[in-house]
């Protein structure tokens, strides 16, 4: 996907002008954030939990090759098939091949951000396969031909009237906009899809290395249906989504659901340890695990490594003032909010995503709630620095900083400039602020005001103070 800075500005303008978003996003944010805060308060020692969760993630990522090796050895030991995918297209090809081998016609999916990342549905549909999303939110946006706007609540940008219109079209009759009726319709329609689907594709909240298990967290039960009814189950995971043993999983689940929705646990936590075993009367006959890199390994060993600690809870989205104003789609990538602003440039490069690290007020609220202590706002600053180093900063900004650096390292010149700016810019100021600066300063004041320089500089004040 190619996006440029005009696209980003347009997306933001569109979001800011959308009256539905203006209402829906803060409403969802408040609900989820309050839930999270209550759950954190109930624990009474949330900092200790975050500390441990972060330690576990760090240890796991530091030893990722070993734990992945253990995981795949155990998956194979219990009869599963393992596929390593370096790029998104590799994962797509692997899944296409399984579908072809199995002569599959229909595929049912449970919610998976990683399959959004590789645009799996589009590719499978191009092969003539019918692909149905089963998470209610994902089903809604699939019908609307849109992408998720929140990590855990993908359709928060849709109103019930819009959902009713989408479902009515499928039903061929007019449905009301009552939640119960809409959900009942989804249950009935999707149940039919489940019962006849050839393949179920799920994501993976956590893979457990010691037993080769894939663990899925869901409230609706669609992840269970996806991994129970079709004859073939394919789980797709990012290479970092792993825990050493079930004991570490305890901490991760405890943190994930509390941070995501404020639930002490989700309605369903399902461990898939293998395909059906002898004597079993249900469950898939074949299990495939697709492990995706797609740019993740490039993050290892860099200043951004902690971004791989992410457990996709969405807590950072729910506290972000920028996300609150623009919602998920304005970010343009599959991952939005603070974690999206950190991840998208890492996974897909600055060419398409250089604006995202600037879509933050750096207030640090994200860092404060992150259950695995990713220093999100520090990483955004790191990106801004790297963008400048790699030449992604706009030319006037670069010149301005170069000039500032030169002046700053020459004290006499600095004094003169400060004095000049005080008198010169004073003319432009109104109520102590300059809203439209001249020349290169315009680059700054286009997006924020500049305080009027004081008559006396700090250096002058200091010199005088020392004399007295």
């Amino acid at each position: 996907m190619t996006l440029n800075s005009i696209d980003f500005d347009q997306r933001v303008d569109k979001a800011l002008a959308d009256p539905i978003l203006k209402q829906a996003v803060p409403f969802a944010q408040d609900k989820l954030r309050n839930g999270r805060n209550t759950a954190a308060d109930q624990l009474g020692n949330i900092e200790e939990w975050r500390e441990l969760a972060a330690e576990i993630r760090k240890h796991t990522i530091d030893n990722l090759d070993s734990y992945l090796e253990e995981l795949v050895t155990n998956v194979r030991k219990s009869g599963g098939f393992v596929h390593f995918a370096e790029k998104d297209s590799d994962a797509v090809d692997i899944i296409k091949k399984i579908a072809k081998d199995k002569e599959a016609k229909t595929i049912i999916k449970s919610k998976s951000m990683v399959t959004e990342e590789i645009h799996l549905n589009k590719h499978l549909e191009a092969e003539g396969l019918k692909v149905v999303e089963s998470d209610l939110g994902e089903y809604i946006i699939q019908l609307a031909n849109e992408t998720p706007s929140h990590l855990i609540a993908p359709a928060i940008h849709k109103t019930r009237q819009q959902v009713s219109a989408l479902f009515s079209e499928v039903a061929g009759r007019k449905l009301s906009d009552e939640t119960t009726e809409l959900c009942a319709f989804a249950r009935e329609t999707l149940r039919e899809e489940f019962l006849q689907a050839d393949i179920g594709i799920s994501g993976c909240n956590f893979a457990v290395a010691e037993s080769g298990s894939v663990v899925l967290v869901s409230n609706e039960g669609n992840a269970r249906l996806t991994t129970t009814l079709p004859k073939v189950h394919i789980a797709v995971m990012g290479l970092e989504r792993i825990v050493p043993t079930w004991n570490e999983l305890d901490i991760m689940i405890s943190m994930l659901t509390r941070s995501a929705t404020g639930q002490k646990i989700s309605v369903y936590v399902t461990g898939i340890n293998s395909a059906r075993q002898s004597g079993d009367l249900d469950g898939p006959e074949e299990f495939h695990l697709v492990i995706l890199d797609n740019g993740r390994s490039n993050i290892l060993g860099t200043a951004y490594q902690e971004a791989l600690n992410c457990i996709r809870c969405g807590a950072c989205l729910n506290v972000c003032p920028v996300y609150r104003h623009v919602g998920g789609h304005a970010y343009g990538g599959v991952y939005s909010g603070p974690i999206g602003a950190v991840l998208m440039p890492l996974l897909e490069g600055y060419d398409d995503w250089k604006e995202l690290p600037h879509a933050s007020s750096l207030c640090g609220a994200c860092t404060e709630v992150c259950p695995v202590k990713i220093p999100l706002h520090d990483l955004l600053i790191e990106h801004r620095k790297d963008e400048v180093d790699q030449g992604y900063a706009p030319l006037p900004e670069k010149m301005a900083f170069k000039g500032f650096g030169y002046i700053n390292s020459h004290p006499a010149l600095y004094d003169k400039t400060v004095k000049l700016s005080s008198t010169g810019l004073g003319v432009l100021a109104k109520d102590g602020y300059i809203t439209k600066g001249p020349g290169m300063l315009g680059g700054w004041t286009d997006i924020r005001d500049l305080p009027q320089p004081k008559k006396q500089s700090f250096r002058e004040w200091w010199a005088k103070e020392r004399k007295e």
Binding site: D65, F84, T159, R187, G221, N247, Y268, L300, G301
Partner: protein, 232 residues
């Protein structure tokens, strides 16, 4: 080496080189000194935990009948009547058989199927999709969350607790443990001898808030859940 093995070696070696070191193998996690969950149940009696289990489920629209073995017959009849149950499917499990479940269901006019190979798999699936009620027992109940935990496999079909609109779980008070920590230890201890294909943790009815953050029950899994807790 096969293509798959080559692929794996390339994939894993790339990771270790990105991490700036040689390949590692067989790493085990350290013993974590920090145990932030301990204070959540230290000093709690069994009675406290049972009450906590019941309270948590009640918050999730799930009622718990805490009864003696002698009261089971009456309680079951009441539950079947309250939820207007005409048909059911239950696990093929000694604990449930000991409760005379099938004959009690029949007495109450409920047609029950048992999850075993006396009928075809397809028939089991069709019945699970059609009946009003699924009945299972559980391995553990988690007090902190109101969760029931069980291993699936053989007579313990996954669909029984999943496809019908109403789900009943029967367990004993002695199966209640403080929290998910104990369940994970239980599973971890079974790893060396092999885990079943599927393990489930279930906490109340299926729910969603995907339409305008408005809570709705039963969108995919059972919308009604009931728990019977047997005193000992």
């Amino acid at each position: 080496m096969t293509v798959d093995q080559l692929n794996q070696e390339k994939f894993l070696t790339n990771i270790s080189s990105r991490l700036g070191r040689e390949r590692r193998s067989g790493v085990k996690p350290p013993i974590w000194k920090n145990k932030p969950y301990l204070h959540l149940y230290e000093g709690k009696t069994n009675e406290d935990l049972i009450e906590q289990f019941i309270d948590n489920l009640q918050l999730l629209n799930t009622n718990v009948d805490r009864i003696t073995r002698q009261e089971f017959e009456v309680t079951l009849a009441k539950v079947l009547k309250d939820f207007e149950v005409n048909s059911a499917i239950s696990w093929d499990n000694p604990f449930l058989h000991d409760l005379d479940l099938t004959s009690l269901l029949t007495t109450n006019g409920v047609e029950n199927s048992i999850w075993n190979n006396s009928v075809s798999e397809d028939e089991l699936k069709q019945r699970s999709a059609k009946v009003d009620l699924g009945i299972t027992c559980a391995d553990l109940g988690l007090a902190e969350t109101g969760t029931v935990v069980f291993m699936n496999g053989e007579g313990r079909g996954r669909m029984v607790s999943l496809l019908p609109p109403f789900y009943l779980c029967i367990l004993k008070e002695s199966q209640i443990v403080p929290r998910i920590t104990q369940a994970m230890e239980h599973i971890h201890a079974k790893v060396p001898t092999g885990l079943p294909a599927c393990i489930n943790f279930i906490t109340g009815p299926s729910r969603t808030a995907d339409i305008e953050m408005d809570l709705a029950l039963g969108v995919h899994g059972p919308g009604k859940v009931h728990v019977i807790l047997l005193r000992e």
